[in-house]
């Protein structure tokens, strides 16, 4: 039995066509699976469905199991207990994922206190330790800062601390570095890699950037138009991509293979897609 088992997951909103169709995923304990695909391919919907955070008008069918427990159809109250305990999530937009009116230390502490019922003093200690773990040299200052006083990379690390402080078994990262510039991106990915290894947590890493995913993940699933079109180990995906879309992704991620002066490859060279 895997830690996360998603079978035949289909999600539609209101009366619209399904946003994702028949998605199947397996993540074992400690395993890191990258989900890659372009904007609108249904990556985030998949993540939010697993977290149980979809909008009210979402219609789900299929099965999502954590440690064998079915999540679909559970009440929000039951799911809230699972989140934080077994599931954590890091969001795409560090700029908007922290409450502007709350000091960042308190936001991390709020999560901790709720789950462990720790006293305020002990909670503060844990928060500072966690902030140090995500690479802050001055956790005291960061804890007492409001989000607008922190940079994007700092906020993303605060969010990482928030998602990991209850040591969940599975952390879903929804494009955690997309909004950051490349150097900060490298720092945040390094921190993420380290804390995930330390905690032994599994990870579902969602991104449109194959290069980023390949740094972190042992396995990759490729998502296109709401469906998973290919999956395999990172090495296999790079060496023998099967689906034309995947071939395009790999070619555009391996720009070091392009001879100087040649035209750079685009995905359209490999996969025309449905006309949109």
């Amino acid at each position: 039995m895997s830690l996360l088992e998603v079978d035949g997951l289909t999600v539609a909103f209101g009366r619209g066509a399904p946003a994702i169709r028949d998605v199947c995923l397996r993540v074992d304990a400690g395993q890191r699976l990258g989900v890659i695909g372009e904007s609108g391919s249904g990556k985030t919907v998949t993540a939010l469905a697993i977290m149980g955070l979809l909008a009210e008008n979402a219609r789900l069918s299929g099965s999502i199991r954590i440690d064998g427990d079915e999540l679909i159809g559970r009440s929000d109250r039951e799911l809230a207990r699972l989140r934080g305990d077994k599931l954590g999530m890091i969001f795409q937009e560090p700029l908007s994922a922290l409450d502007p009116t709350m000091r960042s230390g308190r936001q991390v502490a709020e999560v901790l206190r709720l789950h462990e019922g720790a006293a305020a003093g002990a909670a503060r200690e844990r928060v500072l330790a966690m902030l140090a773990e995500v690479g802050f040299d001055d956790p005291e200052r960061v804890a007492d800062s409001y989000p607008f006083q922190l940079s994007g990379g700092q906020r993303q690390r605060v969010l990482t601390a928030m998602a990991l402080i209850n040591s969940p078994d599975l952390v879903i990262c929804d494009e955690p570095t997309t909004a950051l510039d490349v150097t900060v991106q490298a720092t945040v990915l390094g921190v993420l890699d380290r804390v995930l290894s330390d905690a032994g947590a599994a990870c579902l890493f969602i991104s449109h950037d194959l290069a980023v995913v390949s740094q972190l993940c042992s396995d990759i699933a490729v998502m296109l138009d709401g469906q998973i079109v290919e999956r395999g180990s990172t090495a296999d995906i790079f060496d023998q991509p099967q689906h034309p879309y995947t071939r395009g992704l790999v070619a555009t991620a391996r720009l070091d293979l392009v001879a100087p002066g040649d035209r750079l490859p685009v995905i359209g060279d490999f996969y025309a897609g449905e006309r949109r």
Binding site: G88, L98, E110
Partner: protein, 270 residues
């Protein structure tokens, strides 16, 4: 320009508040003592604004009148906020059919003029300060529900609420820890605007004799009593009218100024 607005608003509100506070420690004369010999005196050194038909000092009455204007404002805004904000928060998170029912109900309630409701209540329970407070407060509840719900919906769909929930914080708890602090400014503006409405309504009700009963002076009652001498002593009408207008304008400008100050999108546009 915007800064001026807020400044004028704060000044006017402070002036009304100062009048009320001063009236507790000092008034030139007893505002309710009837002195038949001093009837209808013109403004002068002895009586700054003159006296009314019963020989009562108008300046003293004007000062004391600020009390009922403010107390009715505070209590009625308090009633409206204490009912409207929790209901709005609840509706924002509740099922959609509930929101629909409540919003339609507020539509209907808003179609009914506040004054009419107050007259109805006064007819049933008798005119008094309490009746006026309850009536004005009740009439302002729908607006608070709508504003709170709209603000809360926006916050609830924000990434930081999703992030908090993804870390295991239950939905109802985010209402207190995240939603309320983030819509506090919005509610403050609404309270300020409602306060202006309450001052006007209180003046109208006491003019009609449906709010605070005599002999306690209120601005609305002073207007009514001065009305009979409009041609004889127009000044008697002028001062309470100016006081009401100043209070209403003050709180409205304060509300507008706060909104401009607190809403970053408007700040950039200005």
């Amino acid at each position: 320009m915007k800064r001026l607005e807020l400044g004028v608003g704060v000044t006017l509100v402070a002036l009304v508040a100062a009048m009320a506070v001063v009236s507790f420690v000092w008034t030139p004369y007893d505002p309710i003592r009837i002195v038949p010999a001093d009837r209808l005196l013109r403004p002068g050194p002895a009586h700054l604004l003159g006296t009314d038909a019963f020989g009562r000092d108008l300046f003293s009455r004007l000062l004391v009148g600020a009390r009922s204007c403010l107390s009715v404002g505070v209590i009625s805004v308090g009633i409206a906020a204490l009912i409207g904000v929790p209901v709005g928060l609840f509706v924002a998170q509740g099922p959609r059919w509930l929101a629909r029912v409540v919003l339609r109900a507020t539509d209907i309630a808003q179609a009914l003029p506040a004054l009419l409701l107050a007259i109805l209540l006064a007819g049933v329970f008798g005119g008094s300060t309490t009746t006026a407070m309850v009536a004005i407060g009740a009439a302002a509840v729908p607006q608070f529900i709508r504003v709170t719900r709209a603000g809360a919906r926006q916050v609830l769909s924000s990434d930081y609420v999703a992030a908090a929930r993804s870390a295991g914080i239950p939905r109802w708890r985010t209402a207190w820890t995240h939603v309320l602090p983030n819509i506090g400014a919005l509610i403050g503006v609404q309270a300020s605007v409602t306060f202006a409405m309450a001052i006007l309504a209180e003046a109208a009700l006491s003019y009609l004799g449906l709010a605070t009963q005599p002999p306690t002076p209120t601005w609305g009652r002073m207007l009514k009593e001065a009305q009979d001498f409009l041609y004889l002593q127009p000044g008697q009408v002028l001062w309470p009218a100016l006081a009401v207008a100043g209070g209403v304008l003050g709180f409205n400008l304060l509300g507008d100024g706060l909104r401009d100050r607190l809403d970053p999108r408007l700040r950039e546009a200005a």
